[in-house]
Symmetry: C2
Subunit: 168 residues, 2 copies
Protein backbone atom coordinates (compact mmCIF):
# COMPACT_ATOMS: atom_id res chain seq x y z
CA UNK A 1 0.00 0.00 0.00
CA UNK A 2 1.16 3.53 -0.83
CA UNK A 3 0.02 6.78 0.75
CA UNK A 4 0.75 10.26 -0.56
CA UNK A 5 1.64 13.30 1.54
CA UNK A 6 1.59 16.66 -0.27
CA UNK A 7 3.52 19.46 1.43
CA UNK A 8 6.01 22.27 0.79
CA UNK A 9 8.44 24.55 2.59
CA UNK A 10 7.33 25.90 5.98
CA UNK A 11 5.28 22.80 6.74
CA UNK A 12 4.28 22.26 10.38
CA UNK A 13 6.98 19.76 11.21
CA UNK A 14 5.09 17.49 13.60
CA UNK A 15 2.06 17.38 11.31
CA UNK A 16 4.22 15.95 8.53
CA UNK A 17 6.65 13.81 10.54
CA UNK A 18 4.11 12.13 12.83
CA UNK A 19 1.92 10.81 9.96
CA UNK A 20 5.02 9.99 7.88
CA UNK A 21 6.58 7.83 10.60
CA UNK A 22 3.23 6.41 11.71
CA UNK A 23 2.34 5.18 8.23
CA UNK A 24 5.80 3.66 7.77
CA UNK A 25 5.50 1.96 11.18
CA UNK A 26 2.56 0.13 9.61
CA UNK A 27 4.72 -0.98 6.66
CA UNK A 28 3.07 1.48 4.29
CA UNK A 29 5.17 3.14 1.57
CA UNK A 30 4.89 6.92 1.79
CA UNK A 31 5.66 9.31 -1.06
CA UNK A 32 6.10 12.98 -0.26
CA UNK A 33 5.15 15.23 -3.15
CA UNK A 34 5.96 18.92 -3.37
CA UNK A 35 5.95 21.63 -6.03
CA UNK A 36 9.33 20.33 -7.10
CA UNK A 37 11.31 17.27 -6.13
CA UNK A 38 13.96 17.79 -3.43
CA UNK A 39 14.29 18.74 0.22
CA UNK A 40 11.64 20.87 1.88
CA UNK A 41 12.11 22.60 5.23
CA UNK A 42 9.62 22.89 8.06
CA UNK A 43 8.86 25.86 10.32
CA UNK A 44 10.94 24.09 12.98
CA UNK A 45 13.83 23.49 10.57
CA UNK A 46 13.34 19.77 10.00
CA UNK A 47 14.27 18.88 6.43
CA UNK A 48 12.70 16.02 4.56
CA UNK A 49 12.96 14.92 0.97
CA UNK A 50 10.00 15.36 -1.33
CA UNK A 51 10.75 12.32 -3.47
CA UNK A 52 8.30 13.24 -6.22
CA UNK A 53 7.21 16.44 -7.94
CA UNK A 54 3.47 17.09 -7.94
CA UNK A 55 3.56 17.09 -11.77
CA UNK A 56 4.64 13.43 -11.68
CA UNK A 57 2.05 12.24 -9.15
CA UNK A 58 -0.45 9.66 -10.40
CA UNK A 59 -3.23 9.63 -7.78
CA UNK A 60 -4.45 6.20 -8.93
CA UNK A 61 -1.25 4.70 -7.46
CA UNK A 62 -2.15 5.75 -3.90
CA UNK A 63 -4.63 4.47 -1.33
CA UNK A 64 -4.90 7.69 0.67
CA UNK A 65 -3.78 11.32 0.88
CA UNK A 66 -2.49 13.29 3.91
CA UNK A 67 -2.25 17.10 3.94
CA UNK A 68 -0.17 18.52 6.82
CA UNK A 69 -0.48 22.16 7.87
CA UNK A 70 1.86 25.06 8.53
CA UNK A 71 2.50 27.66 5.84
CA UNK A 72 2.81 25.05 3.08
CA UNK A 73 -0.92 24.89 2.19
CA UNK A 74 -0.96 28.62 1.34
CA UNK A 75 1.47 27.90 -1.50
CA UNK A 76 0.01 24.53 -2.48
CA UNK A 77 -3.55 25.84 -2.86
CA UNK A 78 -2.37 28.09 -5.71
CA UNK A 79 -1.09 25.15 -7.75
CA UNK A 80 -3.47 23.58 -10.29
CA UNK A 81 -1.68 20.22 -10.25
CA UNK A 82 -2.09 20.00 -6.47
CA UNK A 83 -5.79 20.78 -6.72
CA UNK A 84 -6.28 18.28 -9.55
CA UNK A 85 -4.56 15.57 -7.49
CA UNK A 86 -6.77 16.33 -4.47
CA UNK A 87 -9.90 16.17 -6.64
CA UNK A 88 -8.82 12.77 -7.98
CA UNK A 89 -8.65 11.36 -4.43
CA UNK A 90 -12.12 12.69 -3.65
CA UNK A 91 -13.57 11.46 -6.93
CA UNK A 92 -12.26 7.96 -6.17
CA UNK A 93 -13.63 8.13 -2.60
CA UNK A 94 -10.18 7.49 -1.14
CA UNK A 95 -9.32 8.61 2.42
CA UNK A 96 -8.11 12.21 2.63
CA UNK A 97 -6.77 13.51 5.95
CA UNK A 98 -6.05 17.22 6.42
CA UNK A 99 -4.89 18.99 9.58
CA UNK A 100 -4.46 22.60 10.67
CA UNK A 101 -4.03 24.72 7.51
CA UNK A 102 -4.28 21.61 5.32
CA UNK A 103 -8.03 22.10 4.71
CA UNK A 104 -7.22 25.36 2.88
CA UNK A 105 -6.16 23.18 -0.04
CA UNK A 106 -9.50 21.37 0.07
CA UNK A 107 -11.37 24.69 0.01
CA UNK A 108 -9.46 25.76 -3.10
CA UNK A 109 -10.03 22.36 -4.72
CA UNK A 110 -13.76 22.86 -4.20
CA UNK A 111 -14.26 19.40 -2.72
CA UNK A 112 -15.88 20.33 0.60
CA UNK A 113 -19.41 21.27 -0.48
CA UNK A 114 -21.92 20.03 2.10
CA UNK A 115 -19.18 18.60 4.28
CA UNK A 116 -18.51 18.73 8.00
CA UNK A 117 -14.88 19.47 8.85
CA UNK A 118 -12.49 21.19 11.21
CA UNK A 119 -9.22 23.13 10.76
CA UNK A 120 -6.86 25.52 12.55
CA UNK A 121 -8.76 28.25 14.39
CA UNK A 122 -7.50 31.02 12.10
CA UNK A 123 -8.86 29.13 9.07
CA UNK A 124 -12.30 28.51 10.63
CA UNK A 125 -13.95 31.64 9.20
CA UNK A 126 -12.76 30.81 5.70
CA UNK A 127 -14.10 27.28 6.08
CA UNK A 128 -17.50 28.56 7.23
CA UNK A 129 -17.60 31.13 4.41
CA UNK A 130 -17.13 28.25 1.97
CA UNK A 131 -20.35 26.75 3.34
CA UNK A 132 -18.76 23.97 5.36
CA UNK A 133 -20.19 22.83 8.69
CA UNK A 134 -17.21 23.71 10.93
CA UNK A 135 -16.82 21.82 14.21
CA UNK A 136 -14.35 22.91 16.91
CA UNK A 137 -13.33 19.38 17.97
CA UNK A 138 -10.10 17.36 17.83
CA UNK A 139 -11.16 15.31 14.82
CA UNK A 140 -14.09 15.24 12.39
CA UNK A 141 -14.74 12.17 10.24
CA UNK A 142 -17.12 12.73 7.32
CA UNK A 143 -17.11 9.91 4.81
CA UNK A 144 -13.63 9.67 3.29
CA UNK A 145 -12.55 12.92 4.96
CA UNK A 146 -10.64 13.19 8.28
CA UNK A 147 -9.80 16.68 9.58
CA UNK A 148 -8.14 18.02 12.73
CA UNK A 149 -7.24 21.43 14.14
CA UNK A 150 -3.64 21.42 15.34
CA UNK A 151 -0.61 19.34 16.43
CA UNK A 152 -2.13 18.45 19.81
CA UNK A 153 -4.94 16.69 17.90
CA UNK A 154 -2.46 14.32 16.21
CA UNK A 155 -3.39 11.28 18.36
CA UNK A 156 -7.06 11.52 17.32
CA UNK A 157 -6.13 12.51 13.75
CA UNK A 158 -3.90 9.48 13.29
CA UNK A 159 -6.33 7.13 15.07
CA UNK A 160 -9.08 7.99 12.60
CA UNK A 161 -6.72 8.16 9.62
CA UNK A 162 -5.39 4.68 10.35
CA UNK A 163 -8.94 3.34 10.69
CA UNK A 164 -9.81 4.72 7.24
CA UNK A 165 -6.65 3.32 5.68
CA UNK A 166 -7.03 -0.11 7.32
CA UNK A 167 -10.61 -0.36 6.05
CA UNK A 168 -9.40 -0.29 2.45
CA UNK B 1 -2.36 1.92 30.98
CA UNK B 2 0.25 4.60 31.72
CA UNK B 3 3.64 5.05 30.08
CA UNK B 4 6.42 7.33 31.30
CA UNK B 5 8.68 9.49 29.12
CA UNK B 6 11.70 11.02 30.84
CA UNK B 7 13.29 13.98 29.06
CA UNK B 8 14.65 17.49 29.59
CA UNK B 9 15.54 20.66 27.69
CA UNK B 10 17.20 20.22 24.30
CA UNK B 11 15.38 16.94 23.63
CA UNK B 12 15.32 15.72 20.03
CA UNK B 13 11.84 16.95 19.21
CA UNK B 14 10.65 14.16 16.91
CA UNK B 15 11.99 11.47 19.25
CA UNK B 16 9.77 12.81 22.02
CA UNK B 17 6.72 13.94 20.03
CA UNK B 18 6.36 10.86 17.81
CA UNK B 19 6.23 8.36 20.74
CA UNK B 20 4.11 10.80 22.80
CA UNK B 21 1.44 11.13 20.10
CA UNK B 22 1.69 7.47 19.10
CA UNK B 23 1.05 6.19 22.61
CA UNK B 24 -1.86 8.58 23.04
CA UNK B 25 -3.29 7.47 19.68
CA UNK B 26 -3.54 4.05 21.35
CA UNK B 27 -5.48 5.52 24.28
CA UNK B 28 -2.50 5.24 26.63
CA UNK B 29 -1.95 7.93 29.26
CA UNK B 30 1.53 9.42 28.96
CA UNK B 31 3.32 11.26 31.75
CA UNK B 32 6.37 13.33 30.84
CA UNK B 33 8.85 13.59 33.70
CA UNK B 34 11.76 16.01 33.82
CA UNK B 35 14.20 17.30 36.42
CA UNK B 36 11.51 19.74 37.48
CA UNK B 37 7.86 20.07 36.52
CA UNK B 38 7.07 22.59 33.77
CA UNK B 39 7.72 23.23 30.11
CA UNK B 40 10.81 21.82 28.44
CA UNK B 41 12.07 22.95 25.05
CA UNK B 42 13.45 20.79 22.25
CA UNK B 43 16.40 21.44 19.93
CA UNK B 44 13.82 22.41 17.27
CA UNK B 45 12.00 24.74 19.65
CA UNK B 46 8.94 22.62 20.32
CA UNK B 47 7.77 23.11 23.90
CA UNK B 48 5.98 20.45 25.86
CA UNK B 49 4.94 20.28 29.48
CA UNK B 50 6.71 17.90 31.80
CA UNK B 51 3.69 17.22 33.99
CA UNK B 52 5.66 15.54 36.77
CA UNK B 53 9.04 16.08 38.44
CA UNK B 54 11.32 13.06 38.48
CA UNK B 55 11.34 13.22 42.30
CA UNK B 56 7.60 12.52 42.28
CA UNK B 57 7.69 9.61 39.81
CA UNK B 58 6.55 6.24 41.15
CA UNK B 59 7.78 3.69 38.59
CA UNK B 60 5.31 1.06 39.82
CA UNK B 61 2.51 3.18 38.33
CA UNK B 62 3.79 2.77 34.76
CA UNK B 63 3.76 -0.09 32.28
CA UNK B 64 6.72 1.10 30.21
CA UNK B 65 9.43 3.76 29.89
CA UNK B 66 10.52 5.75 26.81
CA UNK B 67 13.81 7.70 26.68
CA UNK B 68 14.08 10.14 23.74
CA UNK B 69 17.44 11.50 22.62
CA UNK B 70 18.93 14.89 21.86
CA UNK B 71 20.98 16.73 24.45
CA UNK B 72 18.57 15.87 27.28
CA UNK B 73 20.15 12.50 28.23
CA UNK B 74 23.50 14.22 28.99
CA UNK B 75 21.78 16.09 31.82
CA UNK B 76 19.46 13.28 32.89
CA UNK B 77 22.25 10.72 33.31
CA UNK B 78 23.76 12.89 36.09
CA UNK B 79 20.58 12.70 38.17
CA UNK B 80 20.31 9.95 40.78
CA UNK B 81 16.50 9.99 40.78
CA UNK B 82 16.45 9.44 37.02
CA UNK B 83 18.85 6.51 37.31
CA UNK B 84 16.89 5.00 40.21
CA UNK B 85 13.67 5.23 38.18
CA UNK B 86 15.31 3.55 35.18
CA UNK B 87 16.65 0.75 37.40
CA UNK B 88 13.15 0.18 38.80
CA UNK B 89 11.76 -0.40 35.28
CA UNK B 90 14.52 -2.90 34.52
CA UNK B 91 14.14 -4.67 37.87
CA UNK B 92 10.43 -5.12 37.15
CA UNK B 93 11.17 -6.36 33.61
CA UNK B 94 8.99 -3.63 32.09
CA UNK B 95 9.55 -2.45 28.49
CA UNK B 96 12.18 0.28 28.19
CA UNK B 97 12.67 1.99 24.82
CA UNK B 98 15.62 4.32 24.26
CA UNK B 99 16.61 6.09 21.05
CA UNK B 100 19.62 8.09 19.85
CA UNK B 101 21.35 9.53 22.95
CA UNK B 102 18.73 7.96 25.24
CA UNK B 103 20.89 4.85 25.88
CA UNK B 104 23.44 7.12 27.62
CA UNK B 105 21.05 7.13 30.58
CA UNK B 106 20.99 3.32 30.56
CA UNK B 107 24.79 3.18 30.58
CA UNK B 108 24.91 5.46 33.63
CA UNK B 109 22.18 3.42 35.32
CA UNK B 110 24.32 0.32 34.87
CA UNK B 111 21.47 -1.73 33.47
CA UNK B 112 22.98 -2.82 30.14
CA UNK B 113 25.47 -5.49 31.24
CA UNK B 114 25.48 -8.37 28.77
CA UNK B 115 22.92 -6.65 26.56
CA UNK B 116 22.68 -6.09 22.84
CA UNK B 117 21.66 -2.55 21.91
CA UNK B 118 22.04 0.32 19.47
CA UNK B 119 22.28 4.11 19.82
CA UNK B 120 23.29 7.26 17.94
CA UNK B 121 26.55 6.79 16.06
CA UNK B 122 28.48 9.24 18.28
CA UNK B 123 27.46 7.24 21.35
CA UNK B 124 28.48 3.85 19.88
CA UNK B 125 32.03 3.87 21.26
CA UNK B 126 30.79 4.62 24.75
CA UNK B 127 28.27 1.81 24.48
CA UNK B 128 30.94 -0.65 23.36
CA UNK B 129 33.31 0.51 26.12
CA UNK B 130 30.57 -0.32 28.62
CA UNK B 131 30.70 -3.92 27.35
CA UNK B 132 27.50 -3.82 25.36
CA UNK B 133 27.08 -5.69 22.08
CA UNK B 134 26.46 -2.71 19.77
CA UNK B 135 24.57 -3.30 16.52
CA UNK B 136 24.34 -0.69 13.76
CA UNK B 137 20.73 -1.44 12.77
CA UNK B 138 17.46 0.51 12.90
CA UNK B 139 16.16 -1.30 15.98
CA UNK B 140 17.48 -3.87 18.46
CA UNK B 141 15.08 -5.80 20.69
CA UNK B 142 16.72 -7.60 23.62
CA UNK B 143 14.25 -8.81 26.21
CA UNK B 144 12.45 -5.80 27.67
CA UNK B 145 14.81 -3.39 25.90
CA UNK B 146 14.13 -1.65 22.56
CA UNK B 147 16.83 0.67 21.17
CA UNK B 148 17.21 2.68 17.96
CA UNK B 149 19.79 5.01 16.46
CA UNK B 150 18.13 8.18 15.19
CA UNK B 151 14.88 9.89 14.11
CA UNK B 152 14.73 8.04 10.77
CA UNK B 153 14.48 4.79 12.77
CA UNK B 154 11.27 5.94 14.48
CA UNK B 155 8.97 3.67 12.42
CA UNK B 156 10.88 0.53 13.51
CA UNK B 157 11.38 1.91 17.04
CA UNK B 158 7.67 2.51 17.53
CA UNK B 159 6.66 -0.77 15.84
CA UNK B 160 8.74 -2.75 18.34
CA UNK B 161 7.84 -0.51 21.28
CA UNK B 162 4.13 -0.94 20.61
CA UNK B 163 4.56 -4.72 20.35
CA UNK B 164 6.23 -4.78 23.77
CA UNK B 165 3.55 -2.58 25.32
CA UNK B 166 0.66 -4.52 23.76
CA UNK B 167 2.09 -7.79 25.08
CA UNK B 168 1.63 -6.60 28.67
Amino acid sequence: MKVLIISANRFEDSELLVPYYRLREEGITVDIASLTKGFIKGKHDYEIEANIAIADVRPEQYSALVLPGGKAPAALRENKQVLDAVRAFFKAGKPVSAICHGPQILISAGVLQGRTATCYKSVAEELKAAGIDYQDVEVVVDGNLVTSRQPSDLPAFMRETMKKIRSR
